[in-house]
């Protein structure tokens, strides 16, 4: 197992870092030290101050999509997990309902994205329904191939990653603690804020790490649901690769990696992953 990870994970990461500092021309990479990959990436950034250059705008947009998705998945994931953990009483039902949430995770992401097209398209169900109800005259254009549809699809795809760890933390909470809180006169809301949320924190953090890292590096969902029009950190790497500019792609990967590691290390300050398994 170590060998697999060494060959296909650690070594590739090393190469990414090395190649990011190589020179390149139109069609191949040249093994000579150069920071061109990085300087090209930030081209025009200083000239355009105080305005934002393309690359910074792209990263900000990625961050924005990431935060939106994170907030929504966490909210939905927490509520679903809370229902499963505290309101579903029989074990069998818990298993059945959890499976219900898991099965889509085992099916194709691309198909789950395509699935939104007949609903959100110009002649889709949502637009037809709203027009039929007389609420709108023109079809809404922002439903599909927009930031809205990207976030919607991301939430649709990845809420699973928050449900599982939060549920896992929640079923370990001693039910007597909650009863004690009620007996001591706490309202439902107070119990939630003071007992359930702190005890479910490990699950919340783990779920957050999953969602954030996936969305930061995503280029497929943003590509398909954004109609290939919305730029993101992952898409920059992809388009550099399509242009065969490997060092530039690698430089972007290193930057993305740095940002991701910063976010994760901030989150892991709060919780020790190893202890929670």
């Amino acid at each position: 197992m170590m060998l697999v990870f060494a060959l296909f994970f650690l070594l590739p990461l090393v190469f990414v870092t090395i190649v990011s500092a190589w020179d390149y021309n139109e069609y191949e990479m040249l093994p000579a030290f150069s920071l061109r990959g990085y300087t090209d990436t930030f081209e025009g950034c200083i000239a355009e101050l105080p305005g934002l250059c393309t690359i910074l705008k792209t990263y900000l947009k990625t961050l924005k999509l990431c935060l939106l998705t994170w907030g929504l998945t966490l909210l939905i994931g927490f509520t679903v997990a809370y229902f499963l953990a505290f309101h579903v009483r029989s074990k069998t039902w818990q298993i059945v309902l959890s499976l219900l949430c898991t099965i889509p995770f085992w099916t194709s992401n691309v198909i789950r994205m395509i699935a939104w097209i007949p609903l959100l398209g110009r002649n889709g169900l949502v637009n037809k329904g709203l027009q039929g109800a007389g609420l709108i005259q023109q079809p809404l254009e922002w439903l599909l191939f927009s930031e809205f549809s990207v976030v919607l699809a991301l939430v649709h795809l990845f809420t699973f990653f928050t449900v599982v760890p939060i549920f896992n933390s929640m079923i370990r909470i001693d039910k007597r603690l909650i009863e004690a809180a009620y007996d001591a006169g706490a309202t439902g809301w107070q119990t939630l804020v003071n007992i359930v949320i702190p005890l479910a924190k490990p699950g919340i953090v783990i779920g957050s790490i999953f969602v954030i890292t996936i969305v930061m590096g995503d280029f497929v969902t943003i590509g398909v649901m954004g109609g290939q029009q919305i730029a993101s950190a992952g898409k920059i790497i992809e388009s550099r690769l399509n242009a065969l500019q490997f060092p530039a792609a690698a430089a972007n990967a290193v930057i993305l990696l740095g940002i991701t590691i910063m976010i994760i290390s901030a989150l892991t300050r709060i919780v020790d992953i190893r202890k929670e398994l």
Binding site: M1, M2, V4, F5, F8, F9, L10, L11, P12, L13, F15, V16, V19, V80, Y82, F83, H87, C101, P104, W106, T107, S108, N109, V110, I111, R112, I114, A115, W116, I117, P118, L119, G121, N123, G124, L125, H156, I178, Y182, G188, F210, T213, M216, D218, F219, V220, G223, Q228, G234, I237, E238, L241, F246, A249, A250, A253, L256, L257, T260, I264
Partner: protein
Amino acid sequence: MGDKRSRSFYVLAAFFAAYVLFLYGPMIAIYILSFQGPDGGLTFPMNGVSLVWFSKVFAGAGIVDIGAAFKRSLKLGLVVMILTVVLSVSAGMAFRKSFRGATFLFYVAIASLIMPSIITSLGIALEFRLLDDFIIKSGAEGWTTAMGLFTSGLGAHLTWTLPFGLLIMFAIFNRFDGRLEEAARDLGATPWQTFRHVVLPIILPSVVGIGLFGFTLSWDELARSSQAIGSVNTLPLELQGLTTTVTKPDIYALGTLTSAVSFVVIFSALIVILVLQARQRRHGSDAGKGMV
């Protein structure tokens, strides 16, 4: 908390139902649309019912060679599944005793799981490109590339499936009663016999679960494959390519077929797990009780 359901139960139950609808609704929509009549378009309403789009997929009309991609994905998925099961179970066993580098391996696995896929993919692509350059420079005649489905592609998939397998093994062995093995040893079983007759039967349902993850994750994997697969494409890659070019319901038919494979695999795995658990219970051993 008495026996009566509180009002919050119904609110949350409604929320849960809405979530499930949100999960399944769009998928069901395209399954229905894939039976669109010959004149139907990409959206509702249905223009009659037919199997026209399925036959188009099988005939390969207008679409790249889907059948070949289908077979490639299937083969790769099976190999990934087998390797994931074997490697995860052995690593899981190894982790029960502490060994040198255990913590390191654990963190590498976690890192591999949460690393943005495009970075892993790019890294593997670079690795193989440099390897090719090296081989060509050292004078191999007619060498094209080491990159391919079962080299770089397989590796890319394993970096994604193995962490899941390992985590499942951790969850199993955290609840595993080590005294069972001691008992087997005391009765004179060799380590292999202990594993074969005591440990394996108990963990078998979860091992099937690992296999399920191994196959389905590989079958649907896209982001990691994107740069690392070489000249041929897997099914999800073909599908992604089609999203930008195809304007007919055949893409839905293809989606329905792909999902059908997923569902067959999922349900057969679940049935196997249920049968195994039922057998454990029927044999009246207390062995299964240590597990979920």
